[in-house]
Symmetry: C2
């Protein structure tokens, strides 16, 4: 058996998320059958980040085992031909037998774009969350910093019964770009809806809608109801995965 690593990108706009779901168009629902068609063999894929409906990826990683030789470049070309422009195979390589896109990953890095300009930009409307009022960037920066560290992020997660929400946030920073306010966050892993909830709370603080709890109190509460807003998915991109 050889393990193959795929580096892929996608525009999440037209997909009900990464993971396969009966009756819905998903990235995995397109990708897995395309690989099986080209290889002529059933395969089972692992993925670094199971992105939600509407979330994009620039550096998603997928792996699968296959009992046979693969011409990496030809497979990439064939898949790109089948999949069309919404999903791009950026590279395919044979890797160590121990590699698993999900379990070998040591960190994930996401970018969230906030568009503060007065008018929605038609050309980037699928990539950035267009928000109305001016934001208190300084207050948001303080909150972003406070996310860093080893915390129980239950207040920011859609909790799955019996699963821990403890994560290690390694970077969390707001950067003012030319067109957008960029939020960059890196963690060992993220629980469900975590990035969008981190951004939602940032936004509430930025527009002065927070209920007065400090970010430390919100984290300590371990209570989902303390975070009122979840930022929409289209501003979010899975940027890179570390191994």
């Amino acid at each position: 058996m050889t393990v193959y690593r795929l580096d892929i990108a996608y525009d999440g706009s037209g997909f009900r998320g990464y993971a396969k779901q009966d009756g819905h168009r998903t990235v995995q629902g397109e990708l897995d059958p395309a690989i099986e068609t080209v290889l002529g063999s059933p395969i089972s894929t692992a993925v670094a980040g199971r992105t939600d409906a509407g979330v994009h990826a620039k550096g998603q990683v997928v792996s699968f085992e296959y009992d046979g030789a693969v011409n990496d470049q030809r497979l990439a070309r064939s898949l790109n031909g089948i999949l069309g422009p919404e999903i791009a195979i950026k590279g395919i390589a044979a890797v160590s037998e121990a590699f698993n896109a999900r379990f070998s990953a040591t960190w994930r890095r996401y970018r969230y774009l906030i568009d503060e300009r007065p008018t929605l930009d038609p050309l980037t409307r699928h990539l950035a969350w267009h928000v109305g009022p001016p934001l208190d960037i300084e207050a948001m920066g303080v909150v972003a910093n406070a996310y860093v560290g080893h915390h129980d992020f239950t207040s920011f997660c859609r909790t799955v019964e019996g699963k821990s929400n403890v994560r290690r946030v390694e970077e969390s920073a707001l950067v003012q770009g030319d067109d957008f306010l960029e939020y960059w966050v890196q963690a060992n892993a993220f629980c469900q809806q975590m990035v969008r909830s981190l951004v939602g709370f940032l936004y509430d603080v930025g527009r002065g809608y927070s209920k007065g709890e400090t970010v430390e109190e919100v984290i300590a509460a371990q209570d989902r109801s303390t975070v009122a807003s979840v930022a929409p998915p289209h501003g979010l991109t899975l940027w890179e995965v570390g191994y």
Copy 2:
């Protein structure tokens, strides 16, 4: 009569160009009726740049006369509500009676994005022309420089019987950005398909497909058949109009 100036942006992907055409979805075909609905009166609009099918705009300018008072901000909000996210009204203002978006314009500036990265980027596929082979940027830069000046651009235009193709190109430059090779061009005006033909010839030179004529010879030929390629519309954005 008061003259109003509209500054608008649009994603050209879903439109058969700016100008109204029976049976086709166009920007003007959406915009004019929206203005008439809000004002309750027929109007006639002028536009700075009649962009082709699929071409975008970030700084398009439209003007119309209206016999009445308009609350600029309310009109902009109403139009944005009717038009949806593909067309954005960035601003509306009452201007001098002598103003005409088309005839008062003294220059137009366009941006063309070329994506040289190995794989098509799903997130910007509507904004940049993805080209395969590596390009000879230096040779392209020489050509871009040679476009500057007062020339008969017949070799680069879809000629309209009896109309001159003499234009004054004021800036023409290739810039290597983070993700894209950017081509910026500014002229007093452009004839039909001119920017896409200027880029088409740049591309042919960049990939070594030109027939050996220098750019000076191509301009001097005043013959459309000397320029083999017309770059696709989706890489092109009308950036700004000067008055």
